[in-house]
Amino acid sequence: MNILVCVKQVPGSSNVKVDEKTGLLIRPKKGNKLNPYDLYAIEAALVLKEQYGGSVKVLTMGPPQARDVLEECLWMGCDEAYLITDRAFGGADVLATSYTISQGIRKAGDIDLIICGKQTTDGDTAQVGAETAEHLGIPHLSNVTGILEVDEGSVLVEANQEKMIVKQRIKLPCLICMDSEVNTPRLPSYRRRKTTEETLVHSLTLADLEDRNPEHYGLKGSPTQVQKVFPPEKSSSRILENGSSEELADKLNRLLSDRKFI
């Protein structure tokens, strides 16, 4: 089974601050890291490879330094990586980003299953996965909590949809977005880091893609106009309940199960 995981390099601290005057992100000192939500997607892909064989490729779009997170994926056990990078891709919104990624995927060989994370910790739109699938013309499903079975032409998955948990069989090739906390991602191996060859990371520029029309990429290909960037309001809402220990335990249990924490 050939799997491709889409990943992204994000700021090193999940607590990204926004300069309220300029609207620019204040980059934390800690540099960059692999989007934490993508770790669950990589783990799910590597488990499938262990079960069914095949390969796991990773792909990202970003500046040249995004290569770092691809190397990290290789140290976790992925086989090959693609970095889509070109100045022409800068300033892309969700539509242009997903289109660029879909073009990159077309250059990554035959893929049966594409796995994305739930969202990123910087953009937070949770839309790129689904839009990429639309560009590729393949089925997609979000909030996937488990991959139960894979056969010749389909994959059976479990997904957490607002009010219910659904089991769904999807025809391959397809794209799924893994929910967070659904597995424990493996750690990158220092041994693999020492032995991984740099040539396993392939760069793709505009010139390498099928559609080379620059109007479809970057700022030019982005219909979204950002008016203002501001930090979200922090919610400190709390629920206070009174009652005996038993009543409180009951209420807490109901609250946690209603919200599907337990």
């Binding site: 090193g12 601290s13 999940s14 000192k29 800690k30 540099g31 890291k33 692999l34 934490p36 770790l39 140290w75 597995n183 424990t184 991602p185 493996r186 750690l187 990158p188 191996s189 220092y190 041994r191 880091r193």
Partner: protein
């Protein structure tokens, strides 16, 4: 010898601390024991104090009436130290949580000792500083940490609680308020009474405030988790790490069985559990390059010493997934059996491997399950005896045999009874066996100077 708390005493205490004096059934049963629950005692009265002055008032009164006083923070002790085995007053400091001063020029923070370790850590972190000692039990109070000289996971590089305490305010048994130590870095000014109080488990005085050393928080940290085929392979690499020109912040060892308990307890998988034994090391520093260099030096050394691999933990998420399990080990082992007892023996670092292998022999010999984990880098082991359904008689006799064998072995290796949990009630016998009557006599002499009536935590330590 001691007086019980009578109605008049109760009224006097209520006058001193209105609304914060509890007796009889008002005292929650949690106050009858500590975290491990091996020792049991019901205080006559529980008082919750807010200031040094209040502690002084209570102590002055207790001294005049010869009523025993046991000081208690969060009650997370493991040796029966903060248990009112002689009744009397239980003095709860857990409401004394104020941060009194942050001195950025002298790099100290002064706190009331009821503040929790995790509260202090968060306070420092938010301001770009670090309080270095990092005991596993984050809900312990700083007062509790001082009373046992708690060590924790960063001891290898940054030392233990004693190394981080610059000054303390102490209320003596008589009620007198004393200040030992100061913000100074060096001190050759007579006997160091501060260091005598640290680790005295509430038997010499009540520590109400502490001025603690802090450092600017290191900018970068990276941990590595290193799987080995056997515990022997893992632990015998530690002396080589110690000799390398790199000082990790922490060097912990853990066995597969303990990781599996933690997985079950937390309902969450550990990132790896396929190997028999692991070392977990952390490096910190102010530049990424320096920290990576340290990490790579030790990672290469581990691979040269038959490590299966070296896994890198370089982000908040990865760190949380590993260290949250490490912090839950004690609770996880507790959850794996009906009752347990523990031994936090400390041996010279070169003997850690031999000692752990010896505990496997003890387990076989006495017929007890004995999982362990600990601070391989500083020689302090946490060894747990699990009851696993044994009846009282069998449990007591096997436990006794196992403890005797282990403490004897520790003595033979040049080790000591406790690395950080203290002596309390449970380990007194072994302290005597290890140090001998003459040393205990000296300790009793010191106690009699500080507390002539013996009202402070009677029956503990010595």
């Amino acid at each position: 010898m001691f007086n019980e708390v009578n109605k008049e005493d109760l009224l006097a205490l209520q006058k001193m601390l209105p609304g914060r004096v509890f007796d009889g059934r008002q005292i929650n049963e949690d106050y009858y024991h500590d975290e491990l629950g091996t020792a049991f005692g019901v205080p006559d009265v529980l008082v919750k104090v807010l200031s040094t002055k209040e502690v002084s008032d209570v102590m002055g009164y207790a001294c005049s009436r010869s009523i025993p006083v046991v000081v208690r923070g969060s009650g997370t002790g493991l040796v029966g130290g903060a248990v009112a085995t002689h009744g009397g007053i239980m003095l709860d400091t857990s409401m004394m949580k104020k941060v009194l001063e942050l001195d950025e020029n002298n790099l100290t923070v002064t706190v009331q000792t009821g503040i929790l370790l995790m509260e202090l850590a968060a306070y420092c972190d938010e301001r770009g500083f670090q309080y270095c000692p990092d005991p596993g039990e984050k809900s312990a109070t700083i007062g509790g940490n001082i009373s046992t000289n708690a060590g924790g996971m960063r001891a290898m590089k940054y030392g233990v609680t004693r190394d981080a305490v610059r000054a303390i305010t102490v209320v003596l048994a008589s009620g007198e308020i004393m200040k030992f130590g100061s913000k100074v870095v060096k001190n050759s000014s007579g006997y160091d009474l501060k260091d005598l109080i640290i680790g005295s488990e509430g038997t010499l005085g009540v520590v109400t405030e502490a001025t603690l050393k802090i450092i600017p928080k290191p900018e970068y940290a990276i941990s590595i988790l290193v799987p080995f085929r056997t515990m022997k392979d893992a632990i015998s690499t530690v002396p080589k790490i110690i000799r390398a020109q790199v000082t990790p912040v922490a060097t912990e060892y853990m066995s597969q069985d303990v990781i599996l308990f933690a997985e079950e307890y937390l309902g969450k998988k550990f990132p790896t559990h396929a190997s028999d034994a692991y070392l977990l090391l952390t490096f910190d520093g102010n530049t990424r390059e320096a920290v990576m260099h340290d990490m790579e030096t030790i990672a290469d050394l581990c691979l040269e010493n038959d490590a299966i691999d070296v896994f890198m933990i370089d982000t908040e998420e990865r760190s949380a997934s590993v260290w949250s399990a490490r912090s839950a080990f004690l609770e996880a082992i507790k959850g794996s059996t009906d009752q347990m007892d523990e031994c936090d023996v400390v041996v010279p670092r070169s003997r850690v491997a031999d000692f752990i292998l010896f505990t496997h022999e003890v387990a076989k010999n006495v017929g007890l399950r004995i999982p362990s984990f600990g601070h391989a880098g500083d020689g302090n082991l946490h060894i747990y005896l699990c009851r696993d359904g044994l009846d009282d008689k069998q449990w007591e006799s096997r436990k006794e045999k196992a403890f005797s064998m282990m403490y004897e072995k520790s003595k033979e290796m040049g080790g000591l009874v406790s690395g950080e949990h203290g002596i309390g009630l449970d380990k007194k016998k072994y302290l005597l066996d290890m140090l001998g009557e003459r040393q205990l006599e000296l300790m009793r002499g010191i106690k009699s100077v500080f507390d002539p009536k013996g009202i402070l935590n009677p029956g503990k330590v010595i």
